[in-house]
């Protein structure tokens, strides 16, 4: 792992942020829209159930955004190189695939930090919701969600490598497909019985279950977090293996210059 190469890529992705309107929207406007919608739904629910906790939906949508944005940080970085016909240039430098992936991981951290601030501030101003009311629990939440988002990013990138640019819609919608199973806004018990074990095999589902325990029962469900940690490790190993397989597929089949079409 060479620091100068990772730094090179990190700068390369951050150069574009200040002057790219879609990216600024991504960080500041979309999170605000999410907070508005779920905050207002909560206000509406509180009209008939005054004790409905503010954090249940607002906390959920904020954490959901963490996952989604972490995933996008990886996928967009990669997509960016395909769009710009630059992937070949990158891989004729001495860079290794894992260095590239690590750089996208760091881009993700930068994005999440900015989006986290944007979400935290807007939900505080608009609905007087303090994200830090989760206190210490925020740390395991954020780490687990972020890692899971990154894993989804690796899987989406694997799809791009295997099927090229034409699969970008799938690669980007991928995380949203999983959303019902992740049980972001409702407990796993609301899902059909036979789907529940599948849902619980997803690391983020465990964390959202844990989050609801914290909010509704003020208990920290250690087992959810241990499960989430173990599942994240398993998912990560699988995702990284799939990604390397797909990269080898590209090298084997001479697809690196052909990902564009």
């Amino acid at each position: 792992m060479k620091l100068h190469r990772i730094q090179a890529l990190l700068f390369r992705y951050l150069y574009i942020y200040p002057r790219s309107i879609p990216r600024i929207l991504d960080i500041f406007i979309w999170p605000l829209v999410d907070v508005l919608i779920w905050g207002l739904i909560t206000v509406f629910l509180q009209q008939s159930r005054p004790d409905f906790p503010l954090s249940l939906l607002l906390g959920a949508v904020i954490f959901w955004d963490f996952i989604l944005r972490a995933q996008q940080a990886v996928t967009i970085s990669f997509m960016e190189e395909i769009w710009e016909r630059n992937l070949f240039n990158i891989f004729v430098t001495p860079i290794r695939l894992y260095e590239f992936l690590f750089a996208t991981f760091l881009v993700g951290i930068v994005r999440i930090t900015l989006i986290g601030i944007s979400l935290g501030v807007s939900s505080f101003i608009l609905f007087n919701f303090n994200l830090f009311s989760f206190g210490f629990y925020l740390v395991p939440f954020v780490i687990n969600f972020f890692i899971f988002g990154w894993i989804l990013g690796l899987l989406a990138t694997a799809i791009l490598l295997r099927f090229g640019q034409s699969a970008q819609v799938i690669a980007f919608a991928f995380t949203t497909f999983l959303q019902p199973l992740i049980a972001v806004f409702y407990p796993v018990s609301a899902l059909p019985k036979f789907i529940q074990p599948i849902a619980l095999a997803i690391p983020a589902t465990q964390v959202f279950e844990g989050m609801r325990m914290v909010i509704l029962q003020n208990k920290f469900p250690m087992h959810n977090f241990i499960m989430a940690g173990i599942l994240n490790i398993i998912w990560f190993i699988i995702a990284i293996n799939i990604l390397y397989k797909m990269f080898n597929y590209v090298i084997e089949n001479g697809k690196l210059l052909k990902l564009v079409d």
Binding site: K2, H4, R5, Q7, A8, L9, F11, R12, Y15, I16, R19, S20, E80, E81, E84, R85, N86, F88, N89, I90, F91, V92, T93, P94, I95, R96, N248, I251, E252, N253, G254, L256, L257
Partner: protein
């Protein structure tokens, strides 16, 4: 003379189709080798194999005496590549692009190196422009600057002058000639412009349907076929098979 590149029995099949068929050749220090042949002959596939971005079906590639299958990343720090079919990110400025690649190659004192190249290729006025806004001639010069950032000993150029007007193409060749003379860089060069090969290349290899048909200095090839110029040689070879 020291051989920088040794290619032995290199073959690539995609399914049942053989794109590159058992080719062997070498490239010496300071030599510009024209790698020419009709569309679909297998030039780009070969170059990608040499750079380790397509896995050969069989055969070997040694660069600086090192097996690319084993020492790829080490070798790549002293090699570079440019082509009209890849581009640098259009949403980065020229300097951002050059700094990024200099850092990727781990160039020491990279700002100085970039300044040298900017001066050499006369792209100072483009330094602050977005790469995406450049004309193809301007972009080509920036691409070449990128390709020289790490002072490569071996340079792969796949149709670098495609889409350039004759004037800019001529200036680009002068740059390349100067680099070869001053820095002794070896270049593997593909083009469809035979005049360019006569002017620039010390030696040329003709390939067609993945196989090497003939090779030699441009003059020898013209004599061998008893023709006027390399263009006629190209047409004869392309049609006779």
């Amino acid at each position: 003379m020291l051989s920088l590149l040794e290619v032995k029995n290199l073959t690539k099949t995609f399914g049942t189709f053989t794109a590159v068929d058992n080719i062997s050749f070498s490239l010496s220090e300071g030599e510009i080798l024209g790698f020419i042949g009709p569309n679909g002959a297998g030039k780009t596939t070969t170059i990608q194999m040499l750079l380790g971005l397509i896995k050969p079906t069989s055969g070997s590639v040694f660069i600086f005496g090192k097996d690319m299958a084993k020492y790829r990343n080490e070798v790549l720090s002293e090699v570079n590549f440019s082509s009209a079919y890849v581009s640098l990110p259009g949403n980065l400025k020229v300097w951002e692009n050059l700094y990024t690649f200099a850092r990727l190659y781990g160039v020491k004192k990279y700002k100085e190196r970039v300044s040298e190249l900017v001066e050499f290729f006369e792209i100072g006025s483009l330094f602050n422009k977005m790469y995406g806004s450049l004309s193809s001639g301007q972009a080509t010069r920036v691409n070449l600057a990128k390709a020289l950032l790490n002072k490569p000993k071996l340079l792969f150029l796949d149709e670098p002058t495609a889409s350039l007007d004759p004037d800019i193409a001529d200036r680009t060749r002068k740059f390349l000639k100067q680099i070869q003379i001053e820095q002794g860089i070896a270049i593997l060069y593909t083009t469809h412009n035979m005049m360019e090969v006569e002017e620039l290349c010390n030696r040329a290899i003709f390939i067609n349907e993945g196989k090497i048909i003939t090779q030699g200095t441009p003059n020898k090839l013209i004599k061998k076929y008893g023709l006027q110029d390399l263009n006629e040689v190209f047409i004869k070879i392309a049609r006779d098979i």
